[in-house]
């Protein structure tokens, strides 16, 4: 059991399952508005980062590749947030 948690991929998988449940729940309660959007983007960012670092194994990759992939997450999240912010005005 303890050896299961020693593998970062196993830990990432468990967090991804729980985080998916959280996004689903926000949808079920019909969460809307700035707070909800920030929460959903934060969850997506955490999930994306786990996939990049622990599944794609970029944790031990040259910094440039980590920055490219994590930068993509920030770019996409930023554009989505910008569009939602404009729509709320």
């Amino acid at each position: 059991m303890i050896t299961f948690f020693l593998n970062p991929a196993n830990r990432a998988w468990l967090v991804l399952l729980v985080a998916t449940g959280a996004t689903w729940w926000l949808g079920e309660v019909g969460a809307a508005g700035t707070g909800a959007i920030l929460a959903m983007l934060a969850i997506a960012f955490i999930k994306g980062r786990l996939v990049i670092l622990d599944f794609m194994e970029l944790q031990g990759a040259p910094l440039m590749w980590r920055l490219l992939l994590e930068g993509w997450l920030i770019l996409v999240g930023g554009l989505i947030l910008l569009a939602y912010w404009i729509s709320l005005k």
Binding site: L17, K47, F55, G60, L79
Partner: protein, 198 residues
């Protein structure tokens, strides 16, 4: 030089390396940029049609979207375990984990086909509204990527059964695995964006 080596801790971390082939990473980055543009198009198209997007979004099957996230995340996890097994020279475990990953992909396709069939049954098509045009084009484009990812996994399954990868060389396996993780990563953004955010 000897002094520096002696000063290093007993277990120096391995040199930084990029898993898989460089060309595959270039291809993946191009695909991700394309999807970034599609995601941004959706978000900005919504700005002028907030009420319509919110109304039609409620007709989507959020449970199916969430189940599909779980399937892709789990499929990705199996494929990481396959790469780890290959590095331990355990080809049997590697091929078994790839088969599980492939099955998760198959589950995703089945749920998506069910979702599309329900929509078509309700008389909802690509041309019904701007929202559905985005819903069908984004999800179908991603669907095609799941299929391509499964083709890659099928090839990797055959090759791992032949013992093609091991501690000596796993670049091919790592490259296919990274592509499969990208399919997962894209859905992690697509699901909240199209199915949940309002």
């Amino acid at each position: 030089m000897t002094a520096i080596t002696a000063a290093l801790p007993a277990e120096a971390p391995a040199a930084k390396r990029l898993p898989g082939y460089l060309a595959v990473w270039a291809f993946i980055l191009a695909e991700m940029l394309l999807f970034a543009m599609l995601f941004a198009s959706y978000a900005f198209a919504r700005v002028d049609n907030v009420e319509m997007f919110n109304l039609y979004q409620q007709t989507l099957d959020r449970n199916a979207g969430a189940i599909n996230t779980l399937l892709l995340v789990t499929g990705s996890w199996f494929v990481v375990l396959a790469v780890q097994a290959a590095h331990r020279d355990d080809s049997r475990a590697a091929s078994r984990h790839i088969a599980f990953g492939f099955l998760c992909g198959g589950g995703f396709l089945a749920v998506k086909v069910f979702e599309y069939a329900t929509k078509f049954g309700e008389g909802i098509f690509f041309s019904t509204s701007t929202f559905y045009r985005f819903y069908f084009s984004l999800t179908f484009f991603h669907f095609m990527h799941v299929i391509l990812g499964m083709v890659v996994l099928a090839i990797l399954w055959v090759k791992t059964r032949q013992g093609a990868y091991g501690s000596h060389d796993a670049h091919g396996l790592e490259s296919g695995a990274v592509y499969w993780h990208m399919v997962d990563l894209l859905w992690i953004v697509l699901f909240p964006l199209v199915y949940v955010m309002r």
